[in-house]
Structure formats: C-alpha cells, structure tokens
C-alpha cells in the first residue's frame, strides 16, 4: 500500500507559543509558581507560555512532554473543570470520548486519569491522507476556584523503548502539589 507523505504535527510542541517579548513567560512562571509546586524530572527542560488564555509550563525531554496548565481564570477558554471535560481537549481520535483508566492521588485529591489519542502527524496541507496518533494521559486537579490540567504524551506514534515516560509521569503526579491560596491580610 502506498502511503502519502505525512507532516510532523508533534513539532508544535517544540515551538514556543509565546512571542511578544520575554515579559509574558516571566509573568506566567510567577503565576504558576504561586499556585503549584512540582519537581522537574532529571534531564527535562521547562518553558512557559500562555495557552488559550491559561498560564502553562511545558516540561520536555526529547519528544516526551508534560504540561501543567492553570485554567479557569480570566481569559481562559474554560470557566470550570466540567467545561474542560465536556470540551474538545478532552476528546479522543475522531471526536470519541476519552477513556477513564483509573484514579491517582494528586496533591491530596483522588483524581480520575484519562487517556486519549491525539494526532502526531497529519497529511500535508490541502491533502487527503492518513494521520498518525499517540496516547496522551491527562487529569484535572482542583486548585481553589481554578483548576489544573496535567497531561503527558510522547510525540511519536511508536513508543520510546529507551525511556519510560509514563513511569516518570506517574512519579511526577505523586510529587505534584497545589499550593493553598493565600488569604489577603487584615
């Protein structure tokens, strides 16, 4: 079977979304730092951006990627965690529902862990052809009046035999902490 050429969709995860100078990442970093605490896995890098109105940290090692997104604030695509879970970002390949694969204790809360398939390659522009997919695991964690979306994926349709990203992701979740909102002083 002849397969048409494909394009690497996973590359999006390599390109910083922010572009308007350095102020935005710095502000994003401080906003996230005030809300959460986590340990960057050894050998991973971290970068900050705004994604769909939400401050986001993107940790990566090769094509392994963990995203920490603080959602539900002003300008966010979602007002509540329910909106997120009913939205397109919680859908799998072909608009099917994500699979519930279990629960995980994250920062003292037991949260549902979901799995979905996301495209890593799409056919070239204006062209019909096959796409390839990878798995993403994600969970939604309450954070005061807001919520966090934590996710992990590997940006290739074949797994990485040399590195167990899923194991690192589960360890990351175990050490993840949501900080209590500071009450304003009297």
């Amino acid at each position: 079977m002849k397969i048409r050429s494909r394009l690497l969709f996973s590359l999006l995860l390599l390109t910083p979304v922010f572009s308007a100078g350095k102020e935005q990442p710095v502000k994003t970093k401080s906003e996230l730092a005030a809300a959460v605490r986590y340990k960057i896995p050894a050998g991973w890098t971290e970068e900050f951006s705004i994604n769909q109105g939400d401050p986001q940290a993107r940790l990566s090692r090769s094509l392994h990627r963990i995203k920490v997104r603080l959602s539900g604030g002003n300008g966010s695509r979602y007002k509540t965690a329910g909106d997120f879970l009913a939205g397109f970002e919680a859908l799998s390949k072909g608009g099917t529902k994500s699979e519930k694969i279990g629960t995980e204790a994250v920062s003292g809360a037991r949260v549902l862990l979901y799995r979905r398939e996301i495209a890593v390659t799409l056919p070239p522009p204006d062209t019909a052809g096959p796409a390839t997919f990878t798995r993403e695991e994600f969970c939604v964690v309450p954070a005061g009046k807001r919520f966090l979306v934590l996710s992990y994926s590997y940006g290739d349709s074949i797994p990485d035999l040399s590195y167990d990203g899923f194991k690192v992701w589960r360890e990351f979740l175990k050490g993840f902490q949501v900080l209590k909102e500071k009450k304003p002083g009297k």
């Binding site: 048409r4 397109f88 608009g95 996301i118």
Partner: protein, 423 residues
C-alpha cells in the same frame, strides 16, 4: 526553470532571482504560483458572463441584509454565483454538469449561501475546473475507496484566480468537492478581491488567510454532513497549537504570522528557526527508534519462531515513515533556509522599511475583521462538531496483527527469557 507539480516556482529560485525579502513574501504559497498553462481570454469571458445576467442586483440587495439567505433561494443564489465564475470544462459536457452540480449542492450550506452573496456583491470572480493532480492515489480505507492526494488549490497570481479541484471528486465523494470549492473560492479567491490594491502580500503572510479558508471549508463540510478529517478535530482541540504546528507543514506556512506577531516578527522567526533545527535532529532519533523496533521484530521471528505475518502492520508503519523521511528532512531544511533568508532580508535597510509597513498594516481593520470572523466561525464549527461526538468509531484492530502494546509486552518479557534479549 524548476516548477513543481502545481506550477509553483520553488522558493530558492525566487530568492535567487529577485529581491529577497519581497520575494519571500511573494513566494507565499498560492500567490507566487506560476502558471503552467494559460487559458486565454478567461477574464473577458467571465466579465461578459457577468454582464449578461439580469436581476442579480435587486436580489442581492434583498438578501444581503440577511445573515443566511434561505435554502429556498439556492437556485437563485447558484445562478447568481455562477455569473461570477468561469467553468472550464475542457470541452467535456460531463465536467460542466458536474461543476454545476457542485455549485448547486454548495448552496445547501448556510455558510456557503452567506458567502455566495458576498462573493457576488463584492464582484469577486474565479475560474473553476476539475483537474488531474499528480501524486493522487485511490486507496481502501475502512472498506471504502478514498483519495489520498491534493484536494485542490487556487492559483492566486491569476486574475481572476484559478481554482482547480481534484478530478477524482468528479465521480467520488462529491460533497468533498463542495467543501474544496468553498475553501478555495470563498476562502482564498474572495479574500484576494478584498485586498486588491493593497495588503495583498501581508494578507498572504498572515496566518488568518489559511485558517479562515480552512474554517469556511470545514463549516460547509459540517453543514453538509461530510465526515470530518482528523485535522478538524485537532484544530478544535487546541487552535493555538494547531496554528503553531502548521508552521512546520510547508515553507509557505513557516513564514506566516498572527496579526500581533506582524508587529514584531524577528523574535518569532528566530524561535521558529531554533524549533525547526531541533525538529530535524529529533527526526533522526525517531528513525533510530524504528530501527530498534525492527531489530526486535527480527529477533522474535528468528529466535522465537513467531510468524512474520503477525508483524506486517507494524512493519508497514515503519516503512511508511522511512519512505517519507527524505521528503520531511528536505522540508525541514527548506523551512530553515526560508526562515534564515527571511531573517537576513528583514535586517537590511529595505527589510526595516518592510517591518515598519508590516507593523502599520497589522493595525489595518481588514485583519481585525478577519480575526473576528475566524472566532465567530470557530464557535459555529464547535457547535456543529460537538453534536458529531462519537460519530466516528475507531476501526477495529486487524485480525492476527500485533500492536505496539503487544510488542512492548513481548520485549518486557524478554528480560525474563533465557534466550536473552536483543543482540
């Protein structure tokens, strides 16, 4: 002169022949498409056709105020739109009939009806034909004949723009031809008309051009119940990430900017160049990973005497990657060269003037209106697609074929196996 299958001059040729920064812009996709064939007298035919029509202005004035002209008016609208189009049928009445049918069917879509009125009111024009597009293959997907190849394209350097639809759609998946026509004609040809006499190059440099055209095509498709492609779901999942990802899909797209980015593109291009370089390196790692899996499969066949056929699907996926690798590698190199050339060009005195004009143009209401239209169409598409949830089932796994999960389990168990792992 090197010309690609769609009649476009490669980027490098342009850069060599003309002033670089303008040329980088001029290259922007469809704009710099160079004609392979020139059909003479199309403008004159098209204009004459428009002049012959009687009754359009009155009708247009009546429906222009309505957001979506009623479906009952579809024949009137199709006739009116037809007066702004020249159909090239290559002397084949069947082609003409098929094109007429596509236009009429397009009028079943409220979005297409709305845009048809605008197309006519704004006196836009297009030459439309079915065309054999090299590289098209018909394959079986889920038991259905499916085209793998280019849907269609528009030569925007022509006046009026020339829209080519893959001839496959003349006989099969006719509603896809409708979606392609809406994308090309209402998305690209109409916008060209809107920026005549200014903003043309900046329009093509703005990411809105393609996003807007795609949204129009997808909306028309959704309204006609065309099965959405994977890209539609990917776009709705996260439009910002889709926009970023699209920068690595072609040289044209790699240079596109959002309206805010037009005000200060230098850091954007620098970041993109670094990302393109990193992507090239990762491509090699991905290739190595496939080779390792391939060696594991050899191991299970030779040492464990497993049936070679059970690995067929996995090996096919490796082969596809390997076959496509030279093209993707070349694309990455070309994108890096294009970005580097752009950065060099905009650092010149001419380039600085260009940047200043670009920043000024970013404030043009044309882009503000287009950004707003994109948001509006995205919300509408979200509404339509939400109702389509769960409508597409994943194809069942192929009988007797191992998946990556199966292969991973075999590899994990190998640690306990006395044969001892990969040599």
């Amino acid at each position: 002169m090197d010309i690609d299958i769609y009649g476009r001059i490669p980027y490098t040729m342009l850069v060599m022949k003309r002033r670089p920064f303008i040329l980088a812009l001029a290259f922007m996709g469809w704009v710099c498409s160079v004609p392979l064939l020139m059909a003479e007298g199309l403008d004159a035919d098209s204009a004459a056709g428009g002049a012959m029509f009687d009754g359009t202005p009155k009708y247009l004035a009546k429906v222009a105020a309505k957001p979506f002209p009623p479906a009952a008016d579809k024949k009137m609208l199709a006739t009116q739109l037809r007066m702004h189009m020249t159909l090239e049928d290559h002397g084949n009445p069947e082609e003409k009939a098929a094109l007429e049918a596509v236009i009429l069917r397009m009028m079943d879509s409220p979005t297409a009806r709305e845009l048809a009125v605008k197309f006519a009111n704004e006196n836009a024009r297009a030459v439309v034909s079915f065309s054999e597009i090299p590289g098209s293959t018909v394959v079986m997907v889920d038991g259905k004949e499916t085209l793998w190849g280019t849907h269609g394209f528009t030569l925007l350097d022509r006046t009026p723009p020339v829209v080519k639809i893959n001839k496959y759609y003349m006989q099969h998946d006719k509603d896809l031809a409708v979606r392609v026509l809406a994308h090309e004609m209402m998305g690209h040809a109409l916008e060209k008309k809107r920026t005549e006499g200014g903003l043309g190059d900046d329009r093509m440099l703005n990411v809105d051009e393609e996003e807007s055209a795609r949204l129009i095509g997808w909306l028309v498709g959704a309204e006609l119940y065309v099965k959405p492609e994977d890209e539609v779901w990917t776009y709705l999942d996260n439009p910002e990430e889709w926009r970023e990802a699209s920068k690595m899909w072609s040289i044209d797209y790699s240079l596109t900017l959002t309206t805010p980015e037009m005000k200060n593109p230098v850091p954007v291009y620098k970041a993109r160049l670094a990302a393109a370089f990193k992507a090239s390196q990762q491509l090699q790692q991905q290739n190595e990973a496939r080779k390792t899996f391939d060696r594991w499969i050899d191991h299970f066949i030779t040492v464990h005497k497993m049936t070679p056929d059970s690995f067929r699907a996995l090996r096919e996926s490796f082969d596809n990657f390997v076959k496509d690798l030279p093209r993707v590698q070349k694309l990455h190199e070309d994108i890096q060269a294009a970005l580097q050339n752009m950065l060099t060009s905009i650092s010149s005195d001419d380039g600085k003037r260009f940047l200043s004009e670009l920043a000024k143009d970013a404030e043009n209401p044309y882009f503000t209106r287009k950004d707003a239209a994109i948001t509006q169409r995205r919300v509408k598409l979200e509404g339509l697609m939400m109702r389509k949830q769960n409508s597409v089932a994943n194809p069942p796994p192929v009988n007797g074929q191992l998946s990556f999960d199966d292969l991973n389990r075999l590899i994990e168990n190998e640690d306990k196996c006395p044969f001892g792992g990969l040599k």
